[in-house]
């Protein structure tokens, strides 16, 4: 979590330096992402992420160098070879992917992935991440409806940070909670404090067990804060009040967790500092390494448009 935070901060710095074209940050979402992943089994489960899944990708074993290659558009970007925005493409080691920037397309795709597992008799679970903004899309409805009918092993994990770029929740929906929609599809919808690692782990665990047992989907809505503007191209002081910003900063999951551990005596101040120092060092190392790496060749952009073998099974 701390490493993810430091690397995330570094990426914004690299953007300000003109090295990274664009970045969306997971700052504020880390606890939700990490705790959710913790309850899953990366050796068989599937993860359909979206652009804000920085911490989730790290939790799934992506190295800092690999993360940076995406942002710096280096040839060895593991997700897409620098064809796509950072975090887009498919992971080489775990079944984590994010085909596009187009909001909510991943939800029907997740239902399809889960359908295939059901047909294969696999007990793998598909976790699909999305924001509150994505909940407005027709695809979200269609995906949940289908998953409900077929009791598919899929977890709809909504990171509700109350904003779709600048559009606040009350302009996105006539209700308070995304989770309230689950009743309309015939499966449980749960709201959880997304800054609370324990709570998120618990509800995800229940959902995973339910899914593996063949009992169908769960919609989890984790309330989180988007600590930074939407992306490096945004300035949220244009549309967030200063009270909103102050309150939001109080819900930083890293501070919350550190304070909790300290209260419990599981973390000392110096231990905390050491963790941060180590993370910083790791980030520096990765930055130096990746900075020196090559960019993709022009020729490689012609690869993989369609199956060059002629494409027959």
């Amino acid at each position: 979590m701390v490493l993810s935070r430091h690397l995330d901060e570094r990426v914004w710095l690299l953007n300000r330096q003109g090295k990274a074209a664009i970045a969306a940050s997971a700052q504020g979402h880390e606890a939700a992402q990490l705790a959710c992943i913790e309850a899953t089994d990366p050796s068989k489960d599937h993860y359909l992420i979206y652009y804000r899944q920085f911490a989730a990708m790290m939790a799934l074993g992506t190295e800092p160098e690999e993360m940076l290659r995406g942002f710096l558009a280096k040839t060895d970007d593991p997700m897409s070879g620098a064809r796509q925005f950072p975090l887009h493409g498919a992971h080489p080691r775990v079944d984590l992917f994010n085909f596009s920037n187009v909001i909510a397309t991943q939800l029907p795709q997740a239902a399809g992935v889960a359908l295939a597992d059901k047909l294969k008799g696999s007990d793998a679970v598909t976790v699909v991440f999305f924001g509150d903004g994505a909940s407005s899309q027709g695809d979200t409805h269609e995906a949940m409806n289908f998953a409900g009918i077929h009791k598919l092993p899929v977890i709809f994990f909504c990171e509700n940070n109350r904003y779709a770029i600048s559009v606040p929740l009350e302009k996105q929906m006539g209700v308070e909670s995304v989770a309230s929609r689950a009743v309309g599809y015939g499966f449980p919808g749960v709201q959880v404090d997304g800054t609370d690692v324990g709570a998120v782990y618990e509800v995800t665990n229940v959902a995973i067990e339910r899914a593996r047992a063949g009992d169908g989907p769960t919609l989890i809505e984790a309330s989180v804060e988007r600590l930074l503007p939407h992306t490096t191209d945004d300035d949220h002081t244009r549309y967030r009040s200063s009270e909103d910003i102050v309150q939001m900063l109080n819900r930083d999951p890293i501070r919350i967790l550190a304070e909790l551990l300290k209260r419990r005596g599981q973390l000392t101040d110096s231990g905390d500092e050491e963790i941060h120092a180590l993370a910083k060092k790791r980030v520096n190392l990765a930055t130096d390494t990746v900075d020196a790496e090559p960019y993709p060749s022009v020729e490689s952009m012609f690869d993989h448009v369609i199956d060059s073998s002629g494409g027959h099974s």
Binding site: R83, A90, H91, P108, D303
Partner: protein, 327 residues
């Protein structure tokens, strides 16, 4: 060898592919016990069960999105769009997503899926059961678009589509479903995507067509032959990638091209064929590159009189042949 209609060839091929490969599944509206509104999947649910023949809710975007998700997780889905006119809600999942899966993941993921789309008019379908929808798909890198006109081609190309490791849009002209019959080998065979075929050789001019228009072009060519004009008819069969070499070879030889199309002409397959000819056959051309299609109004009126006036016909094609031959 069995004589089959186009729809029978389609059905038999789906069945054969499902027997051949257990990862082939079918999904769409009414594809189960109803067997599809055109009966393309008739009886399949009895043989393969509800797991592999899935009646979906009425929601095309998710039909294609689910097919895509299943495809990247080991299945070879055949999604049916009930009528081409209802494919628009699924454009995002097909043109936006499926086309770029291989490219956008740098080859890590692939989407072996076939989307069957019954299209076209002349069936009293009015504005919303007659549309041709090939343009955008044929424009999009990463997709293949196939449009067979005969039972033989339908079988060979559908087998290829299903076995292809990338998304294929498979267009079936509704008017040909029961109208067009032909001999189809019972044995397994495939026809490569991207190969046009000369369906009738000739020397004076080349007609380029696909789908229902292929048959009208062949009829018109017969009539022209009676008038001493020798017309070659090239069936495109695949709309992406176009078989540029076949087009260029034929038109360079005959020196004249007439492109016949049911779809609106503006910014269409006919435009691309004309552009290929204008660039690559320029020095061999003996006449303007000519196109024949419907008027530029929404395709196509429900009124039978207007529908008939809207559609290109063998007579209209013959008139265009005669005019071009005289230049």
């Amino acid at each position: 060898m069995t004589e089959r209609t186009v729809i029978e060839a389609v059905r038999a091929t789906i069945q054969a592919e499902m027997r051949r490969d257990s990862s082939v599944i079918v999904l769409g509206e009414d594809v189960g016990i109803r067997g599809g509104v055109f009966l393309a999947t008739d009886g399949l649910i009895d043989e393969f069960g509800e797991d592999r023949v899935i009646d979906t809710p009425l929601a095309e975007s998710s039909i294609c999105g689910i097919a895509l998700g299943a495809a990247v997780n080991g299945m070879r889905p055949i999604a049916e769009i009930q009528f081409a006119d209802f494919v628009w809600p699924a454009i995002n999942q097909l043109v936006g997503e499926a086309s770029k899966v291989r490219y956008g993941t740098n080859g890590v993921k692939t989407a072996p899926m076939t989307v069957r789309v019954p299209y076209g008019g002349g069936v009293r379908g009015g504005l919303y059961h007659s549309q041709s929808i090939e343009v955008l798909f044929a424009h999009t890198p990463g997709l293949s678009v196939v449009a067979p006109a005969t039972p033989f081609d339908a079988k060979g190309l559908l087998a290829t589509a299903i076995r292809t490791n990338d998304p294929v849009i498979f267009l079936e002209h509704k008017r040909t479903y029961r109208l067009v019959k032909g001999d189809v080998p019972d044995a397994d065979y495939t026809i490569p995507i991207g190969k046009a075929e000369i369906k009738r050789p000739g020397t004076d001019l080349t007609i380029i067509a696909y789908g229902l228009m292929l048959h009208y072009a062949l009829q018109a060519a017969d009539m022209a032959a009676a008038n001493g004009i020798s017309v070659e008819v090239l069936d495109l069969r695949t709309l992406r990638p176009l078989d540029e070499d076949a087009i260029v070879e034929s038109v360079s030889r005959t020196g004249k091209a007439l492109i016949v199309q049911e779809d609106t002409l503006s910014v269409s397959i006919s435009s691309e064929v004309a552009a290929i000819i204008g660039e690559r056959c320029f020095f061999d051309l003996d006449g303007p590159i000519t196109r024949l299609g419907p008027p530029e109004i929404p395709p196509m009126p429900f009124s039978p009189i207007q529908e008939a006036a809207f559609m290109p016909s063998p007579d209209k094609i013959l008139a265009a042949i005669t005019k071009l031959a005289e230049i």
